[in-house]
């Protein structure tokens, strides 16, 4: 009975994590296109949602392990996974409330690490793996993406210095549909499968499916739909920060930022050096501002970097507390209490967010006072 309740809780929580992952990461693919007017907000999130679902089915190279190389795989239990998911969901919801793009994958890893420390001690965490697989890539991702995007934007404006602005922008808006679609598709192939792996692992641990079994179709479909639904709901608060808060984005910048993001994500993951989609996309947007010589709101970027630094430890603390509650109470009651606390926490943040709602109606409103002019790159080229 207890194992079944725990399994159901993990499946539901896993899908809930996929949902938060969807609305949290919509901004990565669509913020630039929405900000430049290449796509209307609702059209953008609908397109992104469909492509996320398609992406979930596109590749089934699902890793049936979680936080591989970071925690001792033999010590991972279903309760640890449940608590880790709880930590990741809460961190995703809190950062969404503040409109800060942060890595959902890092949140999940943090949640699992925290739960593992309580469950099996600090020695169950492979700290070197944590540094080399999470922290080092996190430091590189925004820098690499930012530099490449800055060069791309400079070249884009340079190539079109004699083009009429309206003709140029119309063409770039069209290309942005393609570049943002690629990002959405890549997101679906990567992120939906993390939860597929989590749920598959729980099913194997419960004996529901054999160890050699492939991921059940219902798992693929439900994970794809969960991330698609989350994407469609649209994390407008984060979209607004990415599209309007960092720098003023024109269509050539949006296209260059999205294209370089897709190139960095696909190239790095293909060559065995996967980087955080969120950090790559944020770096690209900042780089697109630098490459244009447009002012960047560094204090907004600083808040994001602060959140990135906090993601792992904060999710770990919540994951640890969640595990302590679930294991402390024990049995079915522990799982139910943890699920209720998680639901209450998410509900509370949602209620708070209603006091200052950001929707598709006001997502493109001006951010506030124009950022202080700090020209770093080339001066603007006359159209």
């Amino acid at each position: 009975m207890h194992q079944t309740v725990l399994l159901v809780a993990v499946v539901i929580t896993g899908l809930a994590f996929d949902f938060t992952n969807g609305f949290h990461d919509t901004a990565n693919a669509m913020a630039s296109s929405i900000a430049t007017g290449a796509l209307k907000p609702r059209v953008a999130v609908s397109l992104s949602a469909v492509l996320n679902v398609v992406g979930a089915f596109l590749s089934l190279a699902v890793a049936a392990t979680i936080a591989k190389g970071i925690v001792d795989q033999n010590s991972v239990t279903v309760t640890v996974v449940f608590a880790g998911l709880a930590g990741a969901i809460l961190w995703n919801v809190v950062t969404w409330y503040f409109g800060i793009p942060s890595s959902s994958s890092h949140a999940l890893i943090g949640g699992v690490v925290g739960a593992m420390i309580v469950h099996a001690g600090a020695s169950s965490v492979e700290w070197s793996g944590l540094v080399s697989k999470v922290l080092v890539p996190a430091a590189f991702a925004p820098v690499v993406a930012g530099v490449i995007a800055a060069i791309g934007v400079w070249l884009a404006f340079r190539a079109n210095r004699r083009s009429k602005e309206e003709v140029r922008d119309k063409s770039y808006r069209l290309t942005q549909v393609g570049s943002s679609s690629m990002l959405s598709l890549a997101h679906g192939t990567n992120d939906a499968q993390k939860t597929m792996g989590v749920i598959t692992l729980a099913l194997i641990a419960n004996g529901t499916i054999a160890k050699t079994a492939t991921t059940p179709t219902w798992v693929v479909a439900s994970c794809g739909l969960a991330i698609g639904l989350g994407t469609y709901i649209g994390g407008w608060r984060i979209i607004r920060t990415m599209g309007k808060g960092l720098t003023k984005i024109e269509p050539p910048q949006g296209f260059a930022a999205e294209t370089t993001s897709a190139a960095v994500i696909l190239a790095s993951s293909h060559l065995g050096f996967p980087l955080s989609t969120t950090q790559v996309c944020t770096g690209s947007v900042v780089g697109s501002g630098i490459g244009r010589g447009a002012p960047v709101r560094w204090h907004v970027f600083g808040r994001m970097v602060g959140a990135w630094v906090l993601t792992l430890p904060a999710a770990a603390v919540v994951g640890a507390a969640a595990y302590a509650i679930a294991a402390g109470i024990g049995g079915t009651a522990g799982s139910i209490v943890l699920a209720l606390i998680l639901a209450a926490g998410c509900g509370g943040v949602y209620v708070l967010s209603r006091k200052n709602p950001v929707t598709h109606h006001n997502v493109n409103d001006e951010w506030g006072p124009a950022p202080v002019e700090t020209v770093v790159g080339e001066p603007e080229v006359a159209a």
Binding site: S132, R168, H270
Partner: protein, 90 residues
């Protein structure tokens, strides 16, 4: 992920580098070539398309052919990107 090597888990007598600089370098170069390359190719295509409106004769044809070529190259890059997504390393 295997490109990032954790030194602690290595059984080799030679210390394994904590950061796989070679793999990182490869990833950066590939990302730069594709990222900057596609942006440049499509930007040139857009510039050629825009300039073709004010040109005539052979120059106009050359500009338009160049623009189409740029779009074809970018489309090929998109197709390759999808191929990479489908055949990503497990």
């Amino acid at each position: 992920m295997s490109a990032l090597i954790a030194a602690a888990s290595s059984s080799s007598t030679k210390p394994t580098p904590f950061i796989a600089w070679h793999s990182l370098g490869e990833a950066v170069v590939a990302a730069a070539v594709f990222g900057i390359g596609i942006v440049l190719v499509l930007s040139v295509a857009i510039a050629l398309q825009a300039s073709s409106a004010s040109e005539s004769g052979a120059r106009r044809v050359v500009s338009r052919v160049g623009a189409v070529l740029g779009v074809v190259i970018a489309t090929g890059a998109v197709a390759y990107g999808i191929y990479i997504m489908v055949h990503k390393p497990s």
